[in-house]
């Protein structure tokens, strides 16, 4: 398949590829890409997993795909409401296998900043703040984040503020997929339309690229699932404004 693979599709598809059979997997607020990844995996992959989301959904079958990743429609078809305290407590006691968490900055150890650009007490940019990360990143079995911008200001050597520590398992950008190896983020693969050199050029932290290769292109089932979830290209259009 030689068709152009958009940054949006690259992020959603590669987030979905972190999902494993029979595991408990969670998507949260402000998390359009992971929401789509979970819904994509449900459609495209030949295995089951327990999908929980911040709207209280447990294995939901939403009748539409909402703009807001915390929309109550994400609990449609759910046989239970698993509310906020429930899924956090599940995570801290070790029952969350895969958790998708947002980040503004990520460092080479997989720590995240979602709090502030500049000094916390004298911010240049006040970011959304703590959210799930500080509690979920150190306690989930695996935590994965995504960035629509892959640059030296998002993938940094030193965070402006450590909102959450504990080490991400994976990071997906429009250009590359990183996976934790020996407590550092290592390059797993790069977008087939870019190169290892460009990924290095764009990344603010040092990383091991041993064994890295171009990312396997999207499979027919993945392409079909994402098209079904975003038939009018609205999510693609919203995301394209942010991808760089």
């Amino acid at each position: 398949m030689n068709a152009h693979w958009s940054g949006f599709s690259y992020i959603v598809t590669n987030l979905a590829r972190f999902i494993r059979p029979d595991e408990v997997t969670f998507s949260g607020v402000n998390s359009t890409a992971p929401m789509l990844a979970c819904l994509l995996a449900k459609r495209a992959y030949p295995f089951d997993f327990t999908y929980l989301n911040v709207a209280g959904g447990v294995q939901p079958s939403p009748s539409s795909v909402p703009i807001s990743s915390s929309d109550p429609v994400l609990a449609e078809g759910s046989a239970a409401i698993f509310s906020n305290e429930d899924f956090y407590d599940l995570c801290t006691r070790g029952g969350m296998d895969l958790c998708f968490l947002g980040a503004a900055q990520v460092d080479g150890r997989g720590q995240t900043n979602v709090s502030v650009i500049g000094n916390w007490h004298n911010p240049k940019i006040r970011l959304p703040g703590g959210g799930g990360g500080a509690v979920m990143l150190p306690t989930a079995r695996r935590a994965v984040t995504w960035r629509t911008e892959h640059s030296k200001r998002t993938l940094v050597d030193t965070l402006d503020f450590v909102t959450a520590s504990g080490g991400l398992h994976g990071v997906v950008t429009p250009f590359a997929v990183f996976v934790k190896r020996d407590d550092r983020l290592a390059l797993q693969s790069w977008h087939p339309e870019t190169s290892l050199d460009e990924v290095r050029e764009r990344t603010g932290f040092e990383f091991d690229a041993t064994g890295a290769a171009p990312t396997p292109p999207p499979q027919t089932d993945e392409v079909a699932a994402l098209r079904a979830l975003d038939p009018d290209g609205q999510f693609e259009q919203d995301a394209t404004r942010l991808i760089r």
Binding site: V29, I67, A75, A134, V135
Partner: protein
């Protein structure tokens, strides 16, 4: 049959019960089932020096910042969400130091609320290890007194003056129920000194007696009740209505004014005003 137990007030009467300087736990999450008509009423009544306590505020904290009603916030993650990104007036208020922020993770804020709900001075919380949040907040950790050797962060109690939740249905006595997720409303209602309920509709007490397990907050805990259909606008109230995205866009538009926004709200046309 109105009874002496009725707690039904107008929205204006409920707003008048809030003193300047009050700390308010606001129910819902981002654009979903927040007590937004109540928040607009506070702005109409020109309240000042308020505090918002909420793990995931968005429109509510932003419009209060825009009106200059807020001086403090304890919050986890703040954003308009949907596809709207950061909350612009909140962001400006923090950057220009118009409000004092105590930044939490959603679950550390909940731990503080749990401490208040449990009647104890602090509450352990899972995770947080390695985060800078304890440094800026002067949080302490304790070593397991039972000998596991594990360290646990402990969060001081957070007791809001008033928890305000927007619900689907209430009885005139104040029994309240919601459909879909309760977000953080339950722990807020147990932690706060008082509970205010804003309901989409009144239902007979008998309907609550028939299904008591659906009641999120029992009437004896509720101090005031107002009935405001579409009161979570421009957010959603499942399953009654979805987010009014065009209205949020107009709210965010640089050429819009707060007065126009307030005037366009359904609660601006409440009978008797």
């Amino acid at each position: 049959m109105p009874s002496s137990d009725s707690k039904v007030l107008t929205l204006a009467e409920m707003g008048a019960l809030v003193p300047d300087g009050a700390s308010l736990a606001l129910g819902g999450s981002f654009l979903h089932r927040g007590p937004f008509a109540f928040v607009r009423e506070l702005i109409r009544q020109r309240k000042t020096n308020l505090e918002v306590i909420k793990p995931s505020p968005g429109y509510d904290i932003d419009v209060l910042c825009r009106a200059g009603s807020l001086s403090r916030a304890r919050a986890g993650i703040v954003a308009m969400e949907g596809n709207f990104g950061l909350a612009p007036w909140y962001r400006r208020a923090v950057e220009e130091k118009q409000i004092v922020l105590e930044e939490h993770a959603c679950m550390t804020l909940t731990a503080g609320l749990r401490a208040a709900a449990f009647g104890i001075p602090f509450q352990p919380v899972g995770g947080v290890h390695g985060s800078d949040l304890p440094v800026i907040n002067n949080w302490a950790s304790v070593t397991d007194p039972y000998g596991s050797g594990k360290d646990v962060w402990v969060i001081p109690a957070i007791q809001p003056d008033i928890a305000v939740i927007h619900v689907n249905e209430a009885s005139e006595n104040g029994d309240a129920r919601v459909y879909g997720t309760s977000h953080w409303d339950r722990i807020m209602s147990r932690a706060a000194k008082q509970v205010f309920v804003v309901a989409e509709s009144l239902e007979p007490v008998a309907s609550f007696q028939a299904r008591p397990e659906l009641t999120l907050v029992p009437s004896f805990m509720v101090h005031a009740l107002a009935v405001v259909p579409r009161g979570a606008w421009p957010g959603s109230c499942w399953p009654l209505y979805d987010v009014d995205y065009p209205a949020v866009e107009r709210y965010m538009a640089s050429d819009g004014s707060l007065d126009q926004h307030l005037a366009s709200a359904p609660d601006n046309r409440e009978p008797g005003q």
